[in-house]
């Protein structure tokens, strides 16, 4: 931690800061320039990270030297994490994994049919929401436990592992029982109680980036999960909220190389929620593959016009099939397989 003092910080103020640092068991190292004094803190940065250094008179700003996350950092493992989901390897340097399915599980027929379609087209994980976080209380809230059972049935029918969202600590047990990957949605990315809870689960977790979350915030949220002992965490870029209204969100693909530089965790991209309009999704899915994503999650619906949620951003089966062919070509161009 490096403290830059205010111009004109008094000797008393500086001595007071140095004393506080010593009282925390660390060592201050002060250099007085012509214009300002700078105090380096020697010793474990964790100890000072929590201290309100900017509350001390004479302090202008404080710069951390180390990253605030550890378990999530690439430095921690020095190699990429590969999450194994019933034999599907996510994070493997040679692979791009496709996760596809409807926004919501709506009925037995719907989920079974879509599961078969996406499997045939090349997906290796089936997505489908049973507990749905909806902006309005008057819209479809998901089938709940019934939806989980239908997902399990679709898994049995197709062999595809499934991913579904957990919204409430009260539902942890039932969701973990049925799903293969627990999804934490963007709106719960900083629901720290939920993060701790899934940190104690045995199933892998996919953590979606919040609408206002920085790269650092995402990694700190992942740290909550890792810190409870669950090391099978994937990160998911799904668009951030910006001033642009043409798209539903702004898909930040630079998060892919950024997260892969900072962390060992696999990175998935969800172009569906980022773009929000079905005709923009194929271009963004291809771009996501080219950016180095370990997986792509896409919403597919066999009858978008009657979908109970997200119909306007779901791909029709034939569009998805054509997109998979293109994604395969782009993946091959950068030395990967789908």
């Amino acid at each position: 931690m490096i403290i830059i003092c205010k111009r004109g910080a008094t000797d008393e103020q500086i001595a007071h800061i140095e004393e506080a640092i010593r009282s925390w068991g660390l060592k201050p190292h002060t250099s007085r320039g012509v214009e300002r004094a700078i105090i380096g803190i020697i010793g474990p940065e964790d100890v000072v990270r929590e201290k309100p250094l900017e509350a001390f008179p004479g302090v202008e700003s404080v710069t951390p030297v180390l990253k605030p996350y550890k378990l999530a950092s690439y430095e921690f493992t020095q190699k990429r994490t590969v999450v194994d989901v019933r034999g599907v390897k996510i994070g493997d340097a040679q692979k791009v994994v496709l996760m596809a399915g409807p926004c919501s599980v709506e009925s037995r027929e719907q989920i079974l049919e879509i599961a078969r379609i996406v499997k045939k087209a090349g997906a290796s994980v089936l997505r489908g929401g049973a507990f749905k976080p909806r902006t309005s209380p008057y819209t479809f809230q998901g089938l709940g436990k019934k939806g989980l059972e239908l997902l399990a049935e679709a898994r049995k029918a197709t062999g595809l592992p499934v991913i579904t969202e957990l919204m409430d600590t009260k539902d942890t047990e039932v969701v973990e029982e049925y799903t293969d990957i627990i999804q934490i949605g963007a709106r719960n990315m900083q629901n720290f109680s939920l993060l701790k809870e899934v940190g104690r689960c045995k199933k892998p977790v996919m953590l979606k980036r919040g609408l206002a979350a920085t790269i650092k915030d995402v990694l700190l949220s992942a740290e909550y999960i890792l810190n409870e002992g669950n090391m099978n965490v994937m990160l998911c870029e799904r668009g951030i909220r910006t001033f642009e209204t043409y798209t539903r969100n702004t898909l930040d693909l630079s998060a892919v190389p950024a997260l892969k530089k900072e962390s060992h965790l696999p990175v998935i991209v969800d172009p569906t929620h980022g773009a929000g309009h079905h005709d923009l999704i194929p271009a963004m899915a291809l771009a996501a593959v080219a950016s180095g994503a370990d997986g792509i999650m896409v919403e597919v619906h066999n009858n978008p016009e009657s979908a109970l949620s997200d119909g306007e951003q779901s791909l029709l089966p034939e569009k998805f099939k054509a997109l998979v062919a293109q994604m395969r070509a782009v993946a091959a161009a950068i030395g990967k397989q789908i």
Copy 2:
């Protein structure tokens, strides 16, 4: 709902849309202009709000006529809601209510002393966190139930009603037992399970605006609570996330007149989290009063240098006292009392 068709939308496409509208029990009213057809939908807008109209071929865009929230809208009550918290009236047109206290409850001595200080200075509600949502898992997470007990003790000692945050549906019962107002934090503003849960509570709720939440999002989240039957809801502007890094967040004071125009619910402003630096807070607190806020929530600490959280943005007791005097003058200037 008004559907604007694409230029070149075919007769078949338009007929298909009209048919769908009729199948939902509504009436399409189509006017064909020189360049485009426009389809008005006659009948209750709620029915179509969930339909994925943009998934229909030939549709360019869809414009709702009505607001997506009802119970939260000013139109619903046609008068301002006043929430009564142990005799403190929040939302009264002649009053500005001060809520003050430390970020976190840290110890018996700390909360009791600060409670006495803020009461003497003019606050009528005591704030203090027992369950703390912290960005990093390695920082102080709050005293939990012990913190709630200390808050209750401070209430007994001073007579001030208390407000504290609920983070997890599992803690609802214990938090509701001890607190007078349940706070939903910014990071949980779209934790819909939690919103439904507090909608079933008997205690008033203060809902903080999320970092990426629009005015409409805030009102839809309030709608979740109201829709479960709890009509004692307050909204709280506490800063949104923008590109500006000088301040911790960007306090959006225009949310005050905007929320009061759209809704009947009281609006509180928290300048502490918006500004994030103690020396910017007084100016923003005064501005918040002038903007018409029904209440102001400020973090006060008797020893910021040793605070376990938010020390850099807490006001010292004497600064808070001076600020209250100024807030009283500004409130008087617009015909209100503190």
Copy 3:
């Protein structure tokens, strides 16, 4: 234009609006629903676009039916524009054009050497700044006219057409004399005097998206140029400003399919300014190709450590060469050539 009236708008208010519409030579068409009246305006939308309809009592909101830009819209040409720059075709459906070079022209040796390097690596346009828009007045402001002369010399030596920025209407003549493409920088995207000026130039223009510009804003700025008669306009996505600070800006690749859907103009992507760190640029350049960009602009420097501007985000020659090979593979995967 569709006017949604306030609930409770009076007959007088509605009549007053209708009268105003008629006074502008248009026809109002009012339908009164149970809750609200809606007034459609029949006739050319341009006439009403300028009218302050929201200033009329009783108006709740106003929805335009048509896009505010015409010449820039895909509907206008119904085919893609291809800009020909000394034989280099930009916007051709089978091609991706590479523009590369240093941030600034620094010296004769520098620009000649880099021009040869990027040409050999596969670039077909040479970039280089002579007039530099710099955030601080104390940093290198470019060589000015001398820089333009050196660019011309580099063009002569390599045959590469050049692109350079125009910042001031006073420099139009000299910049147009030397350059092949006039660049309008992000910070001048809404410098409307400059846009009109280049609209009267004969050379093609590349318009960079402003840091806070929506898709609609970009197209309206392009409309300024087109409206003066210069139809050779290219648009350039170069990152928008968001809350994320890890990257210099947030490269919004969804702008590529969005702009190509809305407009007939070619779309270039500049991943250098978007990412701002040399190690994130290759991934974003590949993603840009996959997203469908017509061209990619990258900063290359033979000695970034001594670059007078943007050294930290310039690629070394060997890195650029390796990147071109990868971009070629990705382009081929989607049926294009570099």
Copy 4:
């Protein structure tokens, strides 16, 4: 400047950085911690500010110690600047100056009438646009020189000094001849050619914050003007672009205390463009006064329904008059006069 090296930066990399620092005439001071080396640079920070330190292998991040602006900083003058405009003192600690008038000068009758109205209501500066920066080329672009002449006539009739916008370096002479304050609009805040130009003018300048400009960016743009010798600069907060669409922009009132802390220059607030709807403006104008602004600029129109620009956000004369009374009361509450 403080350089934080990468974990694992080699001795050679560190030596190479140190050597470069020495070659620039400065002194490196390296301290090697357990995890990372940190290199402090001793000597004038200006010299290194331009160097691409992040382009050096082994560098993780670079932290400046000093602010990048000097002339604009409070440290430079150590007292507040008061700009004198024909006797109107802007920046005086006891005063709040009102600037009011129409968005655009539309006709002789209009500007003379509005000038008389705002003067009578309490304004001391008349605003009015002659050259108008409009998003669309198809909307009213201002009366140009004719507008300037009408403003001068209104000044003669009322004695009010005038403020109007300069958009193009080509118009500097004529605008400076007629106006008392030169306005640089938000969209030209980083039009550096224009900034240098007005830096050479003799008239005071009001610089509006750009839609995506940070506090630091605003001060660096002011630095461009100050650095050319014009010390009579005022800053103006007018709303930034965020994800919120309810308001036209998000008025960032925390910019008022922030700019006044960092700089000696007067700070004006324009609530009209921030809020964008006439019914939100009074609350924001009052909040701006309470936040400590030195001046408030408001759009007033005697006939908003027929205004050629910004009618929806202009106040009617009687509303403005009522607002001035309230602003006076709020100003008095914080020890100021209007």
